[in-house]
Amino acid sequence: MTTLISIRRLSRLAYGGLWSLPLPLWLAGFFLGPMILLIWLSFWDVRNFLLTPDFQIENWQKMLSADYFWAAYLRTTLIALSAAALASLIALPCALAISFFLGLKARMVVLGLFVVPFFTSYLVRIYSWQIYLTENGIIMKTLAAIGIDSGSLLNTPFALMIGLVTLTLPLVIVIQSISMLSLDKTLIDAAYNLGCGPRRVLFATVLPAVRPGIVLGALFAFIFSFGDFVTATYLGGGKFTTLSILIADTVKSGQQWPRAAVVALVMIATLLISALGAISYAYRRA
């Protein structure tokens, strides 16, 4: 009898263990491992264009004291913040309309439409923007026809914002809509009941109540824009050196993998801190 019971207990343990195994394995193999490797790599040396295992802090000193690094850091942060703010601002009225004015069916259709862009490659979408924005492209020609000389729109901050909003807007709209749809509508009735007219209800009740959704949407937009390479390269033309472009350049020029690792680690640390900050702000009580 005792063996039977212990076998049953064992098999139950094995069952639970098997199901919970993939996550730690995955995290160890594809997150923790590479992370340690990256940190280690940032202390290596490059001799005669050859990576050499070492333990020296010269890479960190070099990068963190370089003006071009901090310029790129500031530029990337500003671009990502602008893109996150822009996407959130554009998404807000869309999400409000989807959540409060559309019927159930129409809502499903519209939310579905916002998922469709993910079916095509981001790179393809950015290339098609190039056609619109390029010199003598459709937009420039149309503007010229009504007497406005816009010059090439490509490689401008405007083009950067177009590309990053293309990347992030659908996701931000979906996140904001979900948080608005899960809002307890009684809260709005309660606000009305306490004398809050329809003009004030948005800022006094709806927006504060869906703050987590708005902040998380902006956070995702910031994270995607901060690390984006495609838009910076194909719509910015490399004119705006972002940290991603800096990584690519550092690797290409002289096999400086350790210095690229330093940039990557600074980026990861930045995103980690912004994510923690944003989440604690999102769920902070008034």
Binding site: D184, D189, A190, N193, L194, G195, C196, R285, A286
Partner: protein
């Protein structure tokens, strides 16, 4: 019947609208009709609510009680009829213009605001300045025993504390009417009883009108000055708790309140003036207060309360005696509710003291005789 001066309720049919308009009641619902497409929620309802009274509206789910409250608050449109307040028609006033704060069943406290900010919300909407807002909110939090909780979040409070915040949020603006939609249903029994006492005390001290919707008998009867019982969008009866308990106006009310036995009878007048009621369970004598109102051959319901019936073992066939079988028993503290069923299938409820029950030594399945005094019971024309 003087409680009916507090409240006039037409149970069926359209009342004379001419004299209804003259009503000087605090709040007056006049011939209110509410339908959702084909479905009728409130059916030609009239109700006057006197200032400073605690009125409880109860009924089974779907009876229209919540719809009525929501129409008062402006959350639902009225299909037809008038809602009057101090003689002014308020049908077209928007929710935010009505100044009738509501305590919601879900409480609907703002999770993104602190306790104090929740209480300040109504004042903020009225444009009261920051310092005054703050001191009035703190004053009300104090009155409701929530000092020291002002800067907490809603999720850091217990159920009873949230209840008080919801009350403070409504009362801080000093309204003359408070609407309450099953506010205690989320609390456990003990806390609910405690809050009932506090609500009644608050209402009495403030002297404002409470319109309280509930499905709980104990809440309605323990707090209200006037109880309104609704069924299928209409008012079955409105009156003082005592009046409704002693003299249910319809068989529905008697059945809804429970604890009574109902016999469908036909009246027969005897030479000595007494009334004989013929039913499928035998014939009963009646000498009670409604004696004179009955005509020969009326169809009536005889309602006998559980505490008016006594039982003895064995069967019997005298007047006002019914033989029945015991089908169930429920122990409620020192009392026992005995459920009986007659040969004709009529359910009878008898309330006994625990020790009498033991003395009788009755078990489920036993045959007993239930009897009552001819003066007891209450007759409703059907």
């Amino acid at each position: 019947m003087n409680s009916l001066t507090d409240i006039t309720a037409a149970r069926t049919g359209a009342p004379n609208p001419g004299d209804k308009r003259m009503s000087h009641a605090h709040i007056s619902l006049q011939n209110i009709h509410k339908s959702y497409g084909e479905a009728l929620a409130v059916d030609r309802l009239d109700l006057d609510i006197e200032e400073g009274k605690f009125i409880a509206i109860m009924g089974p789910s779907g009876c229209g009680k919540s719809t009525m409250l929501r129409m008062l608050a402006g959350l639902e449109d009225v299909t037809s009829g008038d809602i009057m307040r101090e003689g002014q028609r308020i049908n077209d006033l928007a929710i935010w213009e009505r100044d009738m704060p509501m305590v919601w069943q879900s409480l609907a406290l703002f999770p993104f605001l602190t306790v104090r900010e929740n209480v300040e919300f109504g004042l903020r909407m009225k444009g009261v300045g920051g310092a005054e807002r703050r001191s009035r909110a703190l004053e009300w939090l104090g009155k409701l025993g929530l000092e020291g909780y002002a800067n907490r979040g809603i999720d850091q409070l217990s159920g009873g504390q949230r209840q008080r915040v919801a009350l403070a949020r409504c009362l801080v603006t000093e309204p003359s009417v408070l609407l309450l939609d099953e506010p205690l249903s989320a609390l456990d029994a003990h806390l609910s009883v405690q809050m009932q006492g506090e609500l009644k005390r608050l209402q009495r001290e403030l002297g404002i009108t409470f319109v309280y919707v509930t499905h709980s008998h104990s809440e309605a009867f323990s707090m209200a000055d006037t109880v309104v019982i609704m069924n299928q969008g209409r008012i079955e009866q409105a009156g003082s708790p005592e009046d409704i308990y002693l003299r249910p106006a319809t068989p529905f009310v008697a059945r809804f309140l429970g604890g009574s036995s109902i016999f469908d009878c036909k009246t027969r007048r005897r030479k000595n003036g007494e009334l004989t009621l013929e039913s499928t369970d035998g014939s009963f004598s009646y000498t009670g207060p409604e004696l004179v109102e009955q005509d020969e051959g009326d169809e009536v319901s005889l309602i006998v309360r559980a505490d008016q019936i006594s039982i003895a073992p064995g069967a019997g066939w005298a007047e006002n005696e019914v033989s029945a079988r015991v089908v169930g028993e429920e122990f409620v503290g020192a009392l026992v509710n005995l459920r009986l069923e007659t040969a004709a299938g009529t359910p009878i409820t008898v309330q006994l003291q625990q020790r009498d029950m033991q003395a009788l030594d009755i078990e489920v399945g036993a045959s007993v005789t239930a009897s009552w005094h001819p003066e007891d019971g209450h007759i409703i024309k059907t």
